[in-house]
């Protein structure tokens, strides 16, 4: 197998995780990679030798992106807790018990106790967070206009994630041809060639986007409003898809505040305290810390380091012992006026600020079984009080 080795001279060590994540999107010629921190180099396996020069240039461009943040790289841990966790083969065990079934790359079905645990988590969010902030429930479609994603600059931050939606052209000949070929030889993506209409929608990559576009032109009563919703979200994750710790299709609940900056920031601050109380109550092995989005564009350094410097993103990260890593199961995001400006949302005559907190159900379920195993009698008391197998 062709392999290239690239020195990591000048790479900020804080950005190693980001570089590793981004390597999945650098080229389809890359089969895999390994970051050798001791040797200060990146080793990359390629599909063929022919692409060596081209891929090497792309990787060097990627490394350049992660040299230094404009505003430093603030790392702050607000809360940390260690629990008596066990090592178990969570993913194969969930599959064997049929509590989870994989139905495609990064697509899973939860059922039985896994589905019940997800429901317990959602009920808890609603009983604690939605009630605390008097959140109004809204129901959203699973897809979103590309035009909307463009207006909120999603494509200039996360182009790699977008799963576009397409349908066949409204043309009787094209439709009959497609249908006939499927009957004769079965479906294949080659049958899409030249037969698809324009892609003007995508599957929602985020839970709360419809919330802001739905309020376009609104003048809110002070101090603002709180909204909650659950949305099936999609993010293409390329080679980063792994077990249930990073899925392509996942379900998320958000609690969103839109209004005066003080109302939004005070509410977010209160949510910080509530999530830490929850982590303590369930005895989770976790950290609550500053974070940044994995912006996949060359302005990464400005956006990500500013986000960290302003503590605009925080994550509750749960330990996944068998994968020797942590995963984010809850994030708290302050957007400042980004969405208020995009959709002309006002409060007391000024542009509204917004923030959201979000929970990914599949990750919560996976992390809890990973940390505490399948004998709920041995689970921490608070968790056992709310859920038993």
């Amino acid at each position: 197998m062709p392999r290239i080795s690239i020195p990591l001279t000048g790479l900020n060590k804080d950005f190693v995780v980001q570089l590793s994540y981004s390597m999945a999107f650098v080229s389809e010629e890359v089969l895999g990679h390994e970051i050798d921190l001791a040797g200060n180099r990146l080793v990359v396996d390629l599909t063929s030798d022919a692409s060596r020069t081209e891929v090497e240039a792309k990787i060097k461009q990627m490394i350049e992106r992660y040299r230094e943040g404009e505003f430093g790289f603030r790392s702050k841990v607000y809360f940390e807790q260690h629990a008596d966790i066990i090592q178990n083969d969570t993913w194969p065990e969930l599959l064997a018990r049929k509590w989870v079934t994989s139905v495609g790359d990064g697509h899973v079905i939860l059922r039985g106790p896994a589905a019940r645990l997800a429901d317990v988590i959602d009920q808890r969010i609603q009983s604690i967070f939605a009630r605390e902030f008097k959140a109004e429930k809204e129901i959203y479609p699973a897809t979103i206009k590309c035009e909307t994603l463009d207006r909120i600059h999603h494509f200039t931050s996360f182009p790699e994630h977008v799963d576009f939606v397409a349908h066949l052209k409204s043309d009787v000949v094209a439709l009959q041809q497609f249908s006939s070929r499927c009957r004769e030889i079965g479906w294949s993506s080659a049958l899409h060639e030249g037969q698809m209409a324009e892609h003007d929608y995508a599957i929602s990559p985020s839970c709360c986007y419809h919330c802001y576009e739905g309020m376009e032109g609104w003048e809110l009563s002070a101090p603002g409003r709180c909204i909650t919703m659950t949305v099936p979200c999609h993010r293409f994750e390329s080679r980063n898809q792994q077990s249930m710790s990073r899925l392509r299709a996942f379900t998320q609940r958000d609690v969103v505040w839109v209004g005066h900056p003080k109302y939004v920031l005070d509410s977010r601050h209160r949510a910080d305290a509530l999530i830490v109380e929850w982590a303590k109550d369930w005895g989770l092995d976790c950290t609550y810390e500053t974070a940044n989005d994995m912006f996949f564009t060359d302005d990464y350094a400005v956006k990500a380091s500013f986000q960290r410097q302003q503590e605009a993103k925080k994550e509750l990260r749960l330990t996944i012992p068998q994968e020797s890593k942590t995963i984010s199961v809850f994030s708290s995001n302050f957007h400042s006026l980004t969405f208020g400006k995009a959709f002309n949302i006002k409060v007391e005559g000024r542009t509204a600020a917004s923030a959201c907190v979000g929970w990914g159900f599949e990750r919560w379920v996976y992390a809890i079984f990973s940390q505490f195993g399948f004998d709920s009698a041995r689970w921490p008391g608070g968790l056992r009080r709310d859920f038993t197998l």
């Binding site: 943040g69 404009e70 505003f71 430093g72 400005v302 380091s305 500013f306 000024r350 600020a353």
Partner: protein, 87 residues
């Protein structure tokens, strides 16, 4: 240059650069520039360059982590200390 004069220069720059309405009652030298959305990430880069070139100082990444530089007054106080070599 005194802190107040530095603050006025920065305030004037922000008003012009970011088109802050003169009737905006919340904009003053103590408002959090980023929380209240007066300056975003790219605006912060411009503001840093303006402060460095106007007052003849350098602001490093670690300064941005170590010192509160979120309001006009915080930035002005930092400039004075940096000019005096106190930070």
């Amino acid at each position: 240059m005194e802190t107040d004069a530095i603050a006025r220069t920065i305030e004037q720059y922000l008003r012009e650069k970011f088109k802050i309405d003169s009737t905006d009652r919340e904009f003053d030298a103590d408002v959090h520039l980023f929380d209240y959305g007066y300056v975003d990430s790219f605006g912060a880069v411009d503001l840093t360059l303006f402060v460095e070139s106007t007052f003849g100082i350098t602001i490093s990444n670690s300064d941005l982590v170590l010192y509160p530089l979120n309001t006009v007054n915080e930035i002005a106080r930092f400039v004075v200390k940096r000019q005096k070599g106190e930070c």
